[in-house]
Symmetry: C2
Subunit: 336 residues, 2 copies
DNA sequence: AAGCTTTACGTAAAGCTTTACAAAAGAGGT
DNA sequence: ACCTCTTTTGTAAAGCTTTACGTAAAGCTT
């Protein structure tokens, strides 16, 4: 049905080899042939069949990207950056949403493997799988983004928040705060545990040990942040600064504050992990720790492409998160 | 390098045809052979090469999705819905960000065509292109989403806001408002023009003609909304209700209000087009017109898949936007 | 047991490219 | 004119599947 290289060859009165050579430019062809071929290609509207080409060349010029959910702004940005870098180098990307389901993930990996992607970027669920092993053992380059699985020898690109959290703690202490609280995510998740540990450790190192009643746990969703903040405000001796471990819980916290006549930052300072546009737009704008997602996505894609083209050794990369100071943190209330 | 169907056939002592038959299940094979083949497949870890299969079967089980930018929440949701529906039916999707550039769009379309995608979903830039024509003339199903190009006979799935805008106008009039204003997007863009026209027409039909000074133009970005709102508030006789034509401009408007001691909704009511999660979370929560994006994306994918499987005639589909009433609209101030 | 139908399997072609190798043509030298 | 070397072009294989067609075996009928 579709026009093939044979049709072009026939119409131009040459062999398919010549057509291929003209089109790939990899070999020398006489001017006369070249013109004849080109005009036939034009005339017939010939577009090479990438499936056949890939089959023959053993490279599909396609990458797989497996994330839990593109609707998570973090992964949206990663997807965008990956796609940019990939298309820049002539690769397409197949997008997969695994939804935290190991089964879904495995089945996507299977498909991607069968489609012979030249490389894979994945934010893996907890454990490895035979499907993931397939990639590794057939030498298809893989890089982890954001999350990781140990001992597979697969490079990981991720954001480290420790330093930024340190900065935040110092920022708060410098403002004069002595009673810091944290609304943590589930401590069994990687980001949940890491952020909590980092915050507690930094505070302790600087002599601002955080008492147990100032550590609240949420589930990274808004309502849990609201609830936690309510509890904190109700304490006999409430904290003067609160760090929410992600954006949604921070919003919940802000709502809890609004329900009372407590003001931000005059009465209580608030800061968040994971910056988003909307934090610029709230009243007051929220001090937050930004994950440089574009950079992250970009670095991930560059790493993978480098590995594919053998230009680069796989090597994990950690990007520092960045503290963005806005107006939601101020000096603690003067009254003691 | 990779293990092929030949290897399996060899190890199981059968022909490749038999292996293929076992795996496809399309033809009858004896139990004994079946087991032998299956255990060889298992043992060797054979995964069929989808490129070869696609080449032979003339179907790649892959769709192309071309949007301007996945980072636009609207398209993020579309992408997610499309991917869901596609994977449900065994299709993968290649994601492309055309960035409003006709050149980029054309080049993506070229690649997708060469990769022989079985179908294409695209939110097209203004005009058609030879690349788009390629799809049409080779009979590859295409559906437009959100935007459209006339006269190509390609079905479009999009959201129509007219009815919801009508509801909004009625809602405002019922609350007692007589002075309605609008912060419009650029009238030369499709959404900009449509929303403005709809709002003006609905108001006029109901006897609430909107004077010129109550019509302001922004660029769909925050700052322009802020500016427009400032101007509206400074009028000798300011409007009692303002409709912002998208979410960012609405946020700007809210900021402009916060700069003054005007209260929402007591002194002025505000509503927005294009709902987002954050509107639930602002103070007050914003009445907005929601585009049912999931539904839209889903319908688009279903339509395309239906066309691919010849189960459905291409037919445009228009989904109604929906008014979500929250607290940012109330009765106008009693004082006249 | 012959003849027929059905079932089970193998052979080989086809799907479209790219490319190793061979062959032909051209150029240059004597 | 002949030889050698280089350049240009063609032939055919290979990349991996699926499947039309054909054959052999097995089952059934009479």
């Amino acid at each position: 049905m579709s026009v093939t290289i044979k049709d072009v060859a026939l119409e131009a009165g040459v062999s398919t080899a010549t057509v291929s050579r003209v089109l790939s430019g990899k070999d020398t062809v006489s001017m006369r042939m070249r013109d004849r071929v080109l005009s036939s290609v034009e005339g017939l509207g010939y577009r090479p069949n990438a499936l056949a080409r890939s089959l023959r060349e053993e490279t599909s010029k396609t990458l797989g990207l497996v994330v839990s959910n593109v609707m998570n702004p973090f992964f949206t940005a990663v997807a965008r950056a990956v796609e940019d870098a990939a298309s820049e180098k002539g690769y397409s990307v197949i997008l997969c949403n695994a939804d935290e389901s190991p089964d879904k993930e495995a089945s996507y990996l299977d498909v991607l493997f069968q489609k012979r992607v030249d490389g894979l970027i994945i934010s893996p669920a907890r454990t490895s799988s035979p499907q993931l092993q397939s990639f590794v053992s057939s030498g298809v380059p893989v890089v982890f983004v954001d999350r990781t699985i140990e001992d597979l020898g697969i490079p990981t690109v991720r954001v480290d928040g420790r330093k930024a959290i340190e900065e935040l703690v110092e920022h708060l202490l410098k403002l004069g705060h002595e009673r810091l609280a944290v609304i943590s995510g589930p401590p069994e998740t990687v980001p949940g545990g890491d952020r909590l540990k980092a915050f507690l450790a930094c505070a302790a190192e600087r002599g601002a040990e955080i008492p147990e009643e100032y550590v609240r746990f949420g589930d990274f969703r808004r309502e849990s942040g609201r609830q936690a903040m309510r509890e904190l405000l109700r304490l006999r001796c409430p904290p003067t600064a609160v760090f929410a471990a992600n954006n949604l819980m921070c919003l919940g916290a802000l709502q809890a504050v609004k329900e009372t006549d407590v003001r931000v930052p005059e009465d209580v300072s608030i800061a968040s992990f994971d910056d988003i546009v909307w934090f610029e737009l709230t009243q007051p704008p929220v001090t937050a720790i930004a994950q440089p997602v574009r950079e992250l996505g970009n670095a991930t894609a560059e790493m993978l492409l480098g590995m594919i083209e053998k230009a680069r050794e796989p090597e994990s990369l950690i990007i520092e998160a960045e503290l963005i100071v806005r107006d939601s943190c101020g000096p603690p209330p003067a009254s003691q």
